[in-house]
Amino acid sequence: MPRCYTLKVIVRVHIFGELARELSCKAITVDVMSPAKVRDVNLALAVKHPMKAQFFQTARLAVNHAFSSPDTPVQSSDEVALIELVGGG
């Protein structure tokens, strides 16, 4: 039987620091197709913010408080955060 619909995963990406100030928000919500991977989230972020597309396409994401790879799976229940432009100390 053909698969006639796609399952959608809603991912909320927490953002911080300068980026959060610039976009005036603490998180960006994107829709990606299931099964989703981190690379899909990066792409969806880039599509949502074309002015910063290049940044979002390669930005480092953490999934459930661990750095991810492009192929890390992502579900709606996961906590996703953009960890870029870090500078503590």
Binding site: F16, E18, H65, A66, A81, I83, V86, G88, G89
Partner: protein
């Protein structure tokens, strides 16, 4: 071998919280060197005067990443202990926002570990700072 990580609200205290540096970390007669690195908020960000920095830590990832990095550095350099304190929230100019204390048998590995840690911390630890202008 002891690793201590503390995320502290506001500026760090002058001395490491609790006891003296030795008592605090490890009281062993094998320790020959202690290095304490402290980061202090400066009055200028670029050309512009500030009154404070506001630190935002993504927890628990910030603590976890610091602990993981500390464990790596401790193993790699064969250290006795590492203590890390980092501020969260506002730290005024002149205040301490970061402290790294390492104890080891010899000075050589303590120095190498300090340099190694500080270089790596800036990349991986999810703590952001924002200037609060004067």
């Amino acid at each position: 071998m002891t690793i201590t990580i503390r995320i502290v609200d506001g500026p760090l205290q002058d001395a490491i919280s609790c006891c003296g540096p030795n008592a605090l970390i490890e009281a062993t007669t094998a320790i020959g060197a202690t290095i304490t690195f402290e980061g202090i908020v400066r009055a200028f960000e670029g050309e512009r005067q500030i009154r404070a920095l506001d630190y935002e830590a993504y927890e628990p990832m910030a603590s976890q990443t610091l602990a993981g990095l500390a464990q790596d550095i401790l193993d790699k350099h064969g250290l006795n202990s590492i203590l890390i304190e980092h501020s969260r929230g506002q730290v005024p100019v002149g205040g301490r926002s970061f402290r790294f204390v390492v104890q080891s048998a010899h000075r050589k590995e303590a120095l190498a570990a300090t340099e190694d840690f500080i270089n790596r911390m800036k990349c991986d630890v999810p703590i952001w700072k924002s200037p609060i202008y004067a």
